[in-house]
Symmetry: C2
Subunit: 305 residues, 2 copies
């Protein structure tokens, strides 16, 4: 059970020489996801040596260009690289038509199957689930239909308490499956060893909440309560809260308020407006409200174990 | 009369950390053009401090992704930057539909007028002309419909020979327009001064030929004859001429043969396949056939005066 988040880009739309639009590579419980795909994402992936073939699911928050203009290039490159593994793409309705037309226009031929999952619901829904991870939407409020995503590890099974097990010579490997399944063990001597002595509790599942782009929206708090990691957009500082309200973005302080109310373990800020020269100012503002805050930067890695 | 060509990207499709797909910024006779617009072009423009507002015309060679996937991001950014100046976009039929759908899907609102000029002709045609520059298509042969572009300065007018004019006190500024128009001057004394004494011949117009992507196609030679600068794709070295033929690309040697036959002043190679680690090998191969060859690299500038 572990999480590793690599920031590929975390700036807002206006291009600057050293600013990349939103994209993140998420490894959680051995699953490999891409979140958002602004222009240049595939190049950033190369730069940070992220394997193209590993990614199985792409989650797009909303259809502003700085969150999806890099998608068609990436899908086309998958084709050039002869990908065969199925790829699932989640995003607002409309993403399928424009992506397929772009691929068709550029005569990008792919051997692999693309499965589009177009989202329209304004309520949270589970959109992906397997034995390792589930993914739910976090409905956000922006100028266009937007979802954040909550990534949750599945409960793991009981762990073997090897130190205690070693005390009983009569217990062998054949019993391990039963122990992990929670059963007590009857020794040949007739003694019953309680399962609680032979096991450690399951590791607590890790949860990661991605929230971008959005206005300050405290009603997301119950859903992301106690998350291990929260990425929340902070396009502005409080000096331009007026502009945040007008453009349906958040300030660093507002992001910190969400983190505090949700009692998350760590907050990561991103999506900075180009008007600010020093992104350290975002951290300074947020830490006054929520201490364990960091600022996203391309190439930065956040881990939870 | 001058030309300045800035290479923004010059690699083929497969992304690598330090490779950018095709795009060039061309300043010719005070006109500002963009040629091709692979993914990430707008970021490269920022990197090399190229003014976004100066560009009035964009020429797309063909609709493979590495030559136009950056277009929609650039047009969208022009909108964010409140551009008002009209923009002309030239490219194969199909470019308008996909670009407009992408802009509509991302709700990119532009105040400025976009004028699409969709090309279908297989014969060379003049597609732009004003008092400073004309642009013609160079029909190429690739896996999809492709045009190169020939940029030609207009003949300038006669230049004033100030040194000689200074010998005649009776000639004043009011006569300059007539002199530039080729007229002889009648002095108050009755003496006639021949125009040839008062003028210098016009500067020779500069010509730039952009040829990418294409198989070896010697029938373009007459059109680009004696050009000052030729950019010709060289995706492969001669060791993979078989692959060049199969994928309808050129080798460095073939590009040099075109340059030699056309008697151009300088050849610039680009569009290198990712299989080659050292682009200097392209120069080595080409210079054996055509001496004045250079290799394109992002940020490199070529000038003609």
């Amino acid at each position: 059970m572990s999480l590793k988040l690599t920031i590929l880009g975390c700036h807002s739309a206006t291009p600057r020489a050293n600013a990349h639009p939103t994209s993140q590579y998420l490894e959680i419980n051995n699953r490999h996801f891409l979140i958002d795909c602004g222009e240049g994402t595939q190049r950033q992936m190369r730069h940070y040596k992220i394997g193209f073939t590993k990614i199985t699911h792409i989650f797009i928050s909303h259809l502003h260009g700085d969150h999806f203009y890099g998608l068609v290039g990436l899908l086309s490159t998958f084709g050039i690289l002869s990908r065969e593994k199925e790829l699932h793409i989640y995003g607002p309705k409309g993403i399928k038509e424009v992506t397929l037309l772009s691929l068709k226009t550029s005569q990008s031929h792919a051997k692999y199957k693309m499965v589009f999952h177009e989202l329209v619901s304004k309520e949270s829904e589970v959109i992906f689930e397997d034995e390792k991870v589930s993914v739910s939407t976090i409905p956000l409020r922006h100028r266009v239909y937007t979802n954040g995503y909550l990534f949750t590890e599945k409960e793991s099974s009981l762990k073997l308490h090897m130190e205690n097990i070693a005390n009983y010579e009569e217990i062998d490997r054949a019993d391990y499956l039963n122990i992990k399944a929670g059963k007590d063990i009857l020794l040949p001597s007739g003694e019953v060893i309680l399962n609680s002595e032979l096991t450690l509790p399951p590791t607590k599942p890790i949860r990661y909440a991605f929230c971008s782009d959005t206005t300050y929206k405290p009603d997301i708090v119950p859903q992301i309560k106690n998350a291990d990691l929260l990425y929340h957009e902070a396009t502005f500082l409080s000096d331009r809260e007026d502009l945040a309200i007008k453009t349906k973005h958040s300030t660093a302080k507002q992001a910190a308020q969400i983190a505090k109310e949700a009692n998350v373990k760590q907050l990561v800020l991103g999506h900075y407006s180009g008007r600010y020269k020093e992104i350290s100012a975002f951290k300074t503002e947020a830490t006054k409200v929520f201490k364990n805050t960091d600022v996203a930067e391309a190439g930065k890695v956040f881990t939870v174990n």
